[in-house]
Structures are given as structure tokens and as C-alpha cells.
């Protein structure tokens, strides 16, 4: 199968959807001639024109709010927030408006809005351009949260997001934009709430999502050489959360490590652990459920510091060994 990048896969999904549904409009800062801060929308202005690919002033509240209103009035807007950190500027529109409009008006409105935003650290862009904020939104009923880890998933999940009748926060992984992978041509979609098993194993299960999935796979390969067989679960969407897959993996392996880049305290990992201990999987556990997550700190500028506060492959491998009672 042909390989394309994560960024290209996103562009392909959005472009294919825009070709087949002219109620989709695409709104954001510097998405036109510039092609977006990460080049995702390169060429889209030329294909779809300025009526559908709309550059905006630097006005995040207006961008998201405009998406909410346009969705309530019959369009299917896709809005881009240049860095997910800037969602904080538009927080009212995301949390109090988009996520509430259906419920508070008794189901009269749908808000088929997609908010695309790049997430994560690793670029040396420091505190205000590196956060992983998914937990804020997972904690907000009414909005779905998607965290694709591969180009193929990015395409299939974005299609589902665009076709969904609800607001969807589509958190793209900055460091994956240039990563290539096999992506089917043409139309397909991936349902929300279905985790993927990226590697099978029986000794220990790792539950992760987003760019950390790749590191979990690397760590699994490292410890495989030492005889530890790791099952790697990629959640793909955090809201809805595939609790069945988490419970199944915990029962199968008896040992679970949860990995995410976002800081640990108050993170999605806590919900994953709770899902396990709150289910019959509890009785299958051979060890405490562990977390390997970002430290509870803003992301620093200096590269060594930046690397030191988010999970690295070696640290994940070490945590796997620890869970399995091995010393390195």
C-alpha cells in the first residue's frame, strides 16, 4: 500500500469530505496560502477557494464560536486552532457553548463541528506551545476527543469526526505530522470508541494513545528481547473511551501500564486505572496498575529538560520490567 504522512492523511480526509459535501467549510488562522502552521492544508485554498477555506484574523474565540454558530445553522465546519494551547483562549466557546448547545436546548440543535488542533511537546516551543490538554475536554461531557496515532487512523478518524453530529476535538500530534505510514486510498472511516491492539502479548498490557503509542511499541520491542511479551493498546479516542478493551487487556495480562504524555495528575490515565479497578479485571491483577506519564510541570524550553519531563522509550521499558518483576 502507498505510504503518506500523517499531515497528508489529514489533508486527504478533509479534502475528500469537502469534495463530497459542500456544507463543509474550513476556518482558521493562516490555513489558506500559508497552508497552516504545520502545512496540513497546503493546496486546499487552490482547490476549494476562499469561500470554503477561510483565513481568519487572530481571534480564537470568534473562530470556534463561528464554528458553533455555523454548525447550529446547518453547516459542518472544520476549524483549525493553530496550537492546541490556544484553545485556552477560546475555552468558553468550546466548553460552555459547543459542548452544551444540544443538551441545554433540549436536543433541538446539533453541533457537527470539528476542532482540529496540534498537541504535544518535543519541538522546543516551550510552555505555551507544547501542552497535552486532552483531559480538560474528556472532563467536558458533550464533546468527543480523538487522538490518532498513525496516518491511517488520522484519515479514518477525521472522516468519522466530520460526519459525527457532535462537536469533536481532533487532537493531532505535532511530532507525527511528518511520519509516514500506509494509508488506504479512497473512502473509509474508523468508528469512535474502538481501541486498536497494536501488538499482542500476554505478560503485560500497555494502554496509551497519540504519539506515545509509538514509544510504547519501541519499549515493547526492547523488553521482548528479554522475554517479556507486551500487549499494546491504542485507545484512539478518549471520549468515547473503549472501556471494554481496557478491561479485556487487563484481564488477559494481569499487569497494566498506562502511558501518556500529558502530566499525570488529573490526567486521562487516572480514568483508565479507575476503569480497571472498578471492573472484574481487578480480580485478575497480579500487580498494581502503574502509570508512566508526563511530570506535573509546564513543558520547559531546554531540550534535555523537555525530554526529562515526558515519557521516553527507555523509561517505558523500565516501567514494563518493573511491573514484571525484572531488574534491568
Amino acid at each position: 500500500m502507498r505510504e503518506i504522512t500523517y499531515a497528508e492523511a489529514i489533508r486527504e480526509a478533509l479534502s475528500e469530505e469537502m469534495r463530497s459535501d459542500d456544507s463543509i467549510v474550513f476556518i482558521g488562522e493562516d490555513i489558506g496560502i500559508y497552508g497552516g502552521a504545520f502545512g496540513v492544508s497546503k493546496g486546499m485554498l487552490a482547490e476549494f477557494g476562499p469561500e470554503r477555506v477561510r483565513d481568519t484574523p487572530i481571534s480564537e474565540t470568534a473562530i470556534v464560536g463561528c464554528g458553533v454558530g455555523a454548525a447550529m445553522a446547518g453547516l459542518r465546519p472544520v476549524v483549525e486552532i493553530m496550537f492546541s494551547d490556544f484553545l485556552a483562549v477560546a475555552m468558553d466557546q468550546v466548553v460552555n457553548q459547543a459542548a452544551k448547545a444540544r443538551f441545554q436546548f433540549g436536543g433541538q440543535f446539533t453541533v457537527p463541528l470539528v476542532i482540529r488542533a496540534p498537541s504535544g511537546s518535543g519541538t522546543g516551543a516551550a510552555e505555551q506551545h507544547s501542552q497535552s490538554l486532552e483531559a480538560w475536554f474528556v472532563h467536558t461531557p458533550g464533546i468527543k476527543v480523538v487522538t490518532p496515532s498513525t496516518p491511517a487512523d488520522a484519515k479514518g478518524l477525521l472522516k468519522t469526526a466530520i460526519r459525527d453530529a457532535n462537536p469533536v476535538l481532533f487532537l493531532e500530534q505535532k511530532l507525527l505530522y511528518r511520519v509516514k505510514g500506509e494509508v488506504p486510498e479512497g473512502d473509509y472511516s474508523i468508528p469512535f470508541g474502538q481501541a486498536a491492539v497494536r501488538r499482542e502479548g500476554k505478560d503485560v498490557a500497555v494502554v496509551s494513545y497519540g504519539r506515545m503509542v509509538g514509544r510504547c511499541l519501541e519499549a515493547a520491542a526492547l523488553v521482548a528481547a528479554e522475554g517479556i511479551e507486551t500487549e499494546v493498546i491504542d485507545l484512539r479516542t478518549l471520549a468515547p473511551l473503549d472501556r471494554d478493551s481496557i478491561v479485556r487487556a487487563a484481564k488477559k495480562c494481569g499487569r497494566v501500564l498506562v502511558v501518556h504524555e500529558a502530566c499525570q495528575t488529573g490526567g486521562v490515565g487516572g480514568e483508565i486505572v479507575a476503569t480497571i479497578v472498578d471492573s472484574e479485571a481487578f480480580f485478575y491483577l497480579d500487580a498494581p496498575v502503574r502509570r508512566c506519564c508526563g511530570q506535573d510541570t509546564p513543558i520547559p524550553y531546554n531540550r534535555n529538560l523537555e525530554d526529562s519531563v515526558v515519557p521516553q522509550t527507555a523509561g517505558i521499558a523500565e516501567a514494563l520490567r518493573g511491573l514484571c518483576g525484572r531488574k534491568s
Binding site: 496560502i33 481568519t56 516551550a126 510541570t297
Partner: protein, 319 residues
Amino acid sequence: MTITREKLGELYLKMAQTRRFEETAARLFTEGKVHGTAHFCIGEEATGVGVCSALAKEDLIAQTHRGHNQAIGKGMSLDLMMAEFLGKEAGYCHGRGGCMHIADSSSGSLGANGIVGGGIPIAVGAAFALRYRKVDAVTVCFFGDGATNEGAFHEALNLASVWKLPILFVCVNNYYAMSTHIGSHMNIEDISIRAKAYGIRGEAMDGNDVAAIYEATLEAKEYVKREGPMLLVLNTYRIMGHSKSDPQNYRSKEEVEGWKKRDPILLFRKQLAEAHGFSPAELDALDEAASADVARAVEFAEASPEPRVEDALRDVYAV
């Protein structure tokens, strides 16, 4: 008003230092010595240098992401700026912030902001605190043309106006917000008319004339202390790309070349020679001094240690 010869030399030197600092920073990028990004103000040196050179130490500034000129204008150390740029412990923010977040509490910088418009309400709060504490000082808040489209700008100007705070809002209008020309991000040509909506004074002027900016700031300082907020718009141009990764496919080479002829450093050099009797040798000496200062800053930064990983969680909270 006449500016002293010494002050004229200082304005020139600071602009030359800013230029050299950024040219050197750009080179360090290409040498792979920097992890991150930077926003250069080449072509806009006169704005931050002119304004900040008119300020006293107690006056506060809120900087932008494109603020090396603001920092140098306020008297910040090239050594500590360069060390911050290279992420070193000796840097202003101990390598935690990088050049998008340079701050120096001791020289009155409340910090540069990575969130467009994020610093504007903060500056209003600082201006309020100074007045409340009966400190005879002003606050100067920098932001770009693009930032005036954020809600934070409008809320902050209105609040400053109703509280009649001693704050000077300085809009560095370089006609672009990333790739977006001002003509498509606002429907007015003169940003200073936004002041009208908040009942405050608004003025626009050439942002490449450092001496005129310096003088205008001296006057504005007195005005804001007496009458409350003012919006000063400095019209200039960003010669470099928006950040280090910018295809610059949104503007023409001719446009950039046209503005290069209005390079604020060249203009000032000419002015100093023709109207103030600076000799070519004197001006060259200032250029050389700027280069030597920056070279020393690089040496200092490269020789200083990396932050220690054990200290990664320091300063998440004050103790």
C-alpha cells in the same frame, strides 16, 4: 526638543546590537545549535529600541514574541539573552522559557508572550498595581497588528480606559499577522482609530524613525501619567519570515525589497551623519562595538552550563 548626542549614539548602538543579535541567532539555528523557534524583528528595530530607550528603569514593559529590540531597548543583557536563547541555566529564565519568553524583572520586563494578545491584560494589571502602590512609573505594552483582533486587546483597552491607568499601548504594525496581510484581517487602514472605541487617545507614526519614536514616547509617558491610556501605532515592516519556518509565499519580493530601502538602521545612520555630525568612523565604531558585544554574548552562552535535569520541577510553584 533636542536629543543628546549620547542618546543618539545609544539608540544607534542598541539597534545595531539587535540586528547583530538576530543575525547571529539565525546563524546558530543553521548550525543546529538551537532547539525551538524564534521570531526576528529585523526591519523593526526602531520600534522597541525607540520606545524603551525613553523609559526609566521603574517603567514596566510587556513584550511580544518578536521582542529582542524591546529587551535590548530596555537595557537587558545580551549575554543573558543569548544564554536563554541557547537554553542555558545562565539565561534570563534559566533555559526554561527560550527567546519567546524572555523576561527580566530587574529591568522592568514583565516578559515576552507566546500567546498573541496574552500580555495586554497583564500590562493593564501592572499599570494598576503601579498606580495603587503610588509608584511614579508607566507601563508600556507591546503587541502586533494581528493581536488587536484578539478579544483580550479590546477588553484590556476598555478596562484601562475606564480605570484611567497610566499605560501606553504600543502596536507594532508590520502589516502582517503571519501570512495574513492587514488588509484581510481588519477593515480599517489606521489601527490607531481603534482607540476611539474606548475613548482614549490614538496616534500612528512612522515606525522606522527611531529618534521620532523616542521623542513621541517621552511625550506619551507624560500624557498617560496625566490623562490615562494611549494607543501608539508604529508602522514598520518585518523583513524576515514570521518564524524560522516560513515559505513567505504570501508577499512579493518587490515589497520586501522596497522596505529594505527604508531599513531603520540605514535611515538613522544617514540622519546621524547628515543632521548630527556623526562621522563614518564613529558610526563604524558603534557597529563594531555591537558585533563585539554579540560575539561576547555567544561566547558567554556557549560556555555556560545546561540546566540540570534534577532541577526540572523547580519553580512550578513558588516556595
